[in-house]
C-alpha cells in the first residue's frame, strides 16, 4: 500500500544532518510502552472479581496464564521474526509492534466485555506478545549502528526503558480503572482500550522518529580503534550460522542463569521480606520493597551496560556471577535469626536485581562483540528464548520448594536459604559458561563482502 511506503527501509535512511541522539528516544518510546507487561499484576484482582452472566469467576491460575502466554510469545516472536526485521528495517518492525501491542489491548478488552478468557489470551497474550517480541528487538541493531563507539550505553538506554515501562504501566492502569469506575464505565475494558490507544500513539512517535544511518556512516571525530580484545570481532556472522556456534549457546546459558536467579527474588519479593522479618515488615512496606527493586532494576540496566563499554562484556558478566553468587549466599543471613537487618537485606537484594537488569541490557552489546552488527537483532531475538525458559524455570524452582515446605508443615522462612543457595549455584553455572566464551571461529564468518569496522558494524 502506497500510504504505508513511509515504513520502507529506504525511507528510513537518515538524511545528512540527522542527529543520532534522536534514535534513543525513539527506542525508549517503544520500550517504555511494552515494559507495561511487567505491571500486568495490577489487573489480577479486578479480573478475579469479574463475574460472567451466569455468575462464574476466573481462577488465579487461569488469569496467571495471560502474563505467561505474553512472555512466551515475546520470546518466540523475537526468535521467529528477528531475521525479517533485519531486512524490513526498524521502522516497519516498530510499526507492526505498535499495531500488535495496541490492538492486543483492544481484543483483550472485548474478551473482558464478553467474559471470554480465550479472547484475552489471544489479545493480550498472543497478539500483544508478538508486539512485545518485535518491539523489544527492533531498535537494537539500529542503536548499535548509530553508536559504534558506545554500544553498551545505547542498548542499555533502550532496555532500561523496558524496566521503566512497568513503573508507568502500573499507576496508569490503576488510575484509569479508578477513573472509569467513577464515571460508570466497565473499568478493565475501558482502561485497556485507552491504554491500547495511548501506547499505540506513543510507539508511533518512535516509528516516525527512528532512522537508520547511511552506509559507512561514522560518528563525527570517531575512528575505529584497533581491537583491544580478541572477543571484539572484526567480522560478521549471520543469524543461522550464529545459532550453531558454541558461543551462542554459552551466552544462552549466561542469560538464562542470570535471569532465573533474578526471578528467584522478584517472584517472591514481597512475601520473602515479610517471612524473613516476621512481624517487622508490614504488607505496605513489602510493596515498597518491590518499588525499591524496580528502581534498582531500571538503574542497573543503564549502569552495567554503560560500564561494560569500558571494562568489557565478559568481565561485566564475571562481576554478576561472582558478586551475585556471594550476595545470594549471604542474603538469608540478613534475616531475623542472624543479622536481623532489613536495610542490609534491601541493599543486597537491590544490588542483585541491578545485576539481573544489567544482564538483560548488556547482552546485545556482547552479541555484537562476538558476531558483529550484521544480524545482531535477529541473534538477540533467538537468544531471548533463554528469557522465556527462565520465566518458566525460575518460578517453578521457587514455588516448587515453597510448596514442598508448606506441605511438610515446615516454616516457610526455612525454605528461603535453600532457594537462595540454589540461585547462587545457578550463577556459578553461568560463571562457567561465561568463562568458556572464546572468539567465534573463522568458518562461521560471513564470506561475502560486508563493510565492517572494528567496534562497528555492517
Amino acid at each position: 500500500m502506497a500510504v504505508l511506503s513511509f515504513l520502507d527501509y529506504e525511507r528510513s535512511v537518515a538524511r545528512p544532518g540527522f542527529s543520532r541522539w534522536l534514535v534513543p528516544p525513539a527506542a525508549l518510546a517503544v520500550h517504555l510502552s511494552i515494559g507495561q507487561v511487567y505491571s500486568f499484576s495490577v489487573f489480577k484482582n479486578p479480573l478475579l472479581a469479574l463475574k460472567a452472566a451466569d455468575g462464574t469467576l476466573w481462577s488465579l491460575k487461569e488469569i496467571g496464564y495471560i502474563f505467561s502466554i505474553a512472555i512466551a510469545v515475546l520470546g518466540l516472536s523475537a526468535a521467529l521474526f528477528g531475521k525479517w526485521l533485519e531486512t524490513a528495517g526498524p521502522r516497519k518492525a516498530m510499526f507492526v509492534a505498535a499495531t500488535c501491542f495496541g490492538s492486543g489491548f483492544v481484543i483483550a478488552a472485548l474478551g473482558v466485555t464478553l467474559h471470554s478468557l480465550a479472547l484475552i489470551y489471544l489479545g493480550y497474550g498472543v497478539v500483544g506478545g508478538v508486539g512485545l517480541g518485535l518491539g523489544y528487538i527492533s531498535p537494537v541493531s539500529t542503536l548499535i549502528k548509530w553508536f559504534p563507539d558506545r554500544p553498551g550505553l545505547a542498548t542499555g538506554l533502550a532496555i532500561m526503558g523496558f524496566g521503566g515501562g512497568a513503573m508507568i504501566g502500573s499507576p496508569l492502569g490503576t488510575k484509569l480503572m479508578a477513573f472509569y469506575k467513577t464515571s460508570d464505565h466497565p473499568p478493565i475494558a475501558a482502561a485497556w482500550v485507552t491504554m491500547g490507544l495511548l501506547y499505540f500513539v506513543f510507539m508511533m512517535f518512535g516509528v516516525f522518529t527512528v532512522r537508520v544511518p547511511q552506509k559507512d556512516w561514522k560518528p563525527s571525530g570517531w575512528t575505529p580503534k584497533p581491537s583491544q580484545s580478541a572477543l571484539i570481532s572484526t567480522h560478521n556472522v549471520d543469524v543461522n550460522s550464529a545459532f550453531i556456534t558454541p558461543q551462542f549457546w554459552l551466552l544462552w546459558i549466561v542469560l538464562c542463569m542470570n535471569v532465573t536467579a533474578g526471578i528467584g527474588i522478584l517472584e517472591q519479593a514481597a512475601p520473602m521480606i515479610q517471612d524473613l522479618f516476621k512481624g517487622s515488615v508490614s504488607p505496605a512496606a513489602a510493596a515498597g520493597f518491590v518499588g525499591v527493586l524496580s528502581l534498582f532494576n531500571m538503574a542497573g540496566r543503564f549502569f552495567w551496560a554503560s560500564t561494560s563499554d569500558f571494562i568489557g562484556r565478559k568481565p561485566t558478566y564475571m562481576i554478576f556471577f561472582t558478586a551475585g553468587a556471594v550476595l545470594y549466599a549471604l542474603l538469608p543471613f540478613t534475616g531475623t535469626d542472624h543479622l536481623n537487618s532489613v536495610a542490609f537485606f534491601v541493599l543486597i537484594a537491590g544490588l542483585l536485581i541491578s545485576m539481573y537488569g544489567g544482564g538483560f541490557a548488556t547482552i546485545p552489546a556482547y552479541l555484537k562483540d562476538l558476531f558483529g552488527g550484521y544480524h545482531v537483532s535477529a541473534i538477540h531475538g533467538r537468544l531471548l528464548t533463554a528469557w522465556s525458559t527462565a520465566g518458566i524455570v525460575g518460578p517453578l524452582i521457587v514455588n516448587g520448594i515453597l510448596d514442598y515446605y508448606v506441605a511438610q508443615h515446615i516454616p516457610k522462612q526455612e525454605a528461603y536459604p535453600v532457594i537462595l543457595h540454589i540461585m547462587a549455584g545457578l550463577l556459578i553455572v553461568g560463571f562457567l559458561a561465561n568463562l568458556l566464551v572464546r572468539p567465534v571461529a573463522e568458518r562461521y564468518w560471513v564470506k561475502t563482502t560486508i563493510p565492517v569496522t572494528v567496534g562497528g558494524e555492517a
Partner: protein
C-alpha cells in the same frame, strides 16, 4: 575520505530536547510513583 562522516550540520537541539522530553516526562512520572511506593518501606 570515502565514508560519510557527519561533517554536515547537526540536528536541531530544540528537536532533540523535545524528543527526549516526550519520553522523559512519562518515565519521570513512573519513577515518581514508584519512589512514593518505595518510601513506604522506610516509614
Amino acid at each position: 575520505m570515502s565514508s560519510k562522516i557527519d561533517e554536515e550540520k547537526k540536528g536541531s537541539p530544540m528537536l532533540i530536547a523535545l524528543a527526549w522530553l516526550l519520553v522523559c516526562i512519562p518515565a519521570a512520572w513512573g519513577i515518581y510513583n514508584t519512589a512514593l511506593n518505595a518510601m513506604k518501606l522506610f516509614r
